[in-house]
């Protein structure tokens, strides 16, 4: 609709602020009333920035060399056979390698100690490790319309957390089931209400070892991180790391990241 030389010219002048004041104001009003024109103006503005972006190429090229460097440093040292005078040279070389490595380790240690900015914050750790729970196939074998618990799980998966909690609360009065508290905890955590999530996970793990015990502990640790209670989080993560279950490796990693 807006494909004419004049309108293109006008949009360009408008973007560059080169229209006479009256026309600029009138054109602005036109943009405010026409979504199509607003889209067109945005497209023109974005095109200009998208086509000429020298900094983006610099970022890509710097990252390319950092990735390559990371891979070279990560490769094992080549251990080929050495003989005669070459061996003396290599021994000297090895000495320098060892000395240089020790120096690097020392520098690193000083940097780590002096650079608090490099330690992970609670928010970093939470964002990096929190993912919504993925259902296990056998948890949903029944028709979700018939079984309210499966209906609640479905709502949780859709992001309808309040609805999920409402259904689970209704069921809570009818039966005692670790799944109810587990999904209530998950829903509260997803809504950012970590304190209530902890209460529900606590109720869930009161049941003797169930399918949800370990996942509830994992999400409870994340909820404590969100609450900035690293001590509690770490104590749960240590238990999980020792359990050799589904969450042990992740728990160990996260615990180390929090140290």
């Amino acid at each position: 609709m807006y494909a004419s030389e004049e309108i293109y010219e006008k949009i360009e002048l408008y973007i560059n602020g080169q229209l006479p004041q009256e026309e600029q104001t009138a054109f602005e009003q036109e943009i405010n009333t026409s979504q199509e024109l607003a889209d067109e103006v945005r497209l023109f503005k974005e095109l200009k920035n998208a086509i000429f972006e020298p900094g983006a190429e610099q970022i890509k090229s710097e990252l390319k060399s950092l990735y390559a460097q990371n891979k070279i440093e990560g490769q094992p040292v080549n251990t080929s056979k050495n003989t005669g005078g070459k061996q003396i040279f290599l021994k000297t070389k090895q000495f320098y390698y060892v000395a240089a490595s020790l120096l690097l380790i020392a520098i690193n240690a000083v940097l780590v100690l002096n650079n608090n900015n490099n330690s992970y914050t609670d928010a970093d750790a939470f964002v990096a490790y929190y993912t919504p729970y993925e259902y296990l196939a056998h948890e949903r074998t029944e028709d979700s319309n018939v079984n309210p618990l499966h209906h609640a799980i479905k709502n949780y998966e859709k992001g309808a957390y309040k609805e999920a909690i409402a259904t689970l609360e209704g069921e809570q009065n009818k039966e005692r089931n670790s799944l109810i508290y587990y999904y209530k905890g998950l829903s509260y955590l997803a809504m950012g209400e970590s304190s209530q999530a902890i209460d529900e996970f606590n109720k869930c793990i009161q049941f003797d070892s169930t399918l949800f015990t370990e996942p509830a502990m994992w999400y409870m640790a994340l909820a404590y991180i969100k609450e900035h209670n690293r001590e509690k989080a770490s104590s749960i993560l240590t238990k999980l790391a020792q359990s050799e279950g589904r969450y042990s490796q992740k728990a160990d990693e996260l615990n180390q990241a929090l140290d």
């Binding site: 974005e46 998208a50 490790y129 992740k250």
Partner: protein, 193 residues
């Protein structure tokens, strides 16, 4: 060398290597952990990290980012959002809600979608003829029509203007015909409303 978040954002907006390296040193390993823990590889993490830095670059150059927490947390959240989108498009996790779990969620979504649009514009720009790319390149660098006429050896300013319009029109029509652009456009309208 230490940087504040503001210095980092301004540095990234110019493609400053020192800022890129600093972000890499302080954040990349966490991104690797997240991606590997969610069905990805080191190569996926490299790809996602680069895409996220480009999102920040483009966003900062369009409208300065208002951080609600540390830049590193923001960057991880961007990586996470891009990764969920990618995994979802590979149909591994199509039932899972794409949550960023970060205060600036609408801004992050908007930033990623803007960056997707930029990538799409570039794709169609690169499909234009050499001459069209030359004309538009100079035009987007704010060269006047007189300069473009001289630099590209056109016979008159009027002819150069006509060619510029034809090239821009071709580019814009190609972009608008792309289904992905239509989706990105309608989603951005929804976010704003």
């Amino acid at each position: 060398m230490e940087f504040t978040d503001e210095q980092l954002l301004n540095g990234l907006a110019k493609g400053d290597n020192r800022c890129v390296k600093y972000m890499y040193d302080t954040t990349f390993q966490l991104v690797v952990q997240f991606i590997k823990g969610n069905r990805g590889t080191l190569e996926d993490a490299e790809d996602i990290f680069q895409e996220a830095l480009i999102v920040l670059y483009r966003k900062q150059n369009s409208q300065p980012i208002q951080l609600e927490s540390k830049l590193r947390t923001y960057l991880i959240a961007v990586c996470k959002y891009i990764w969920y989108n990618r995994v979802r498009s590979r149909q591994y996790m199509d039932t899972i809600e794409n949550k960023v779990d970060y205060g600036d969620e609408p801004e992050i979504i908007e930033g990623v979608e803007q960056s997707d649009r930029f990538t799409l514009y570039k794709k169609y720009f690169n499909e234009l003829s050499d001459k069209c790319r030359e004309i538009l390149d100079l035009h987007f660098q704010d060269k006047s029509m007189a300069e473009i006429t001289d630099l590209l050896g056109f016979t008159s300013i009027g002819y150069a203007r006509k060619r510029k319009f034809q090239c821009k029109e071709k580019l814009i029509q190609a972009i608008k015909a792309d289904v992905h652009y239509q989706k990105l456009k309608s989603r951005s309208v929804k976010i704003k409303n």
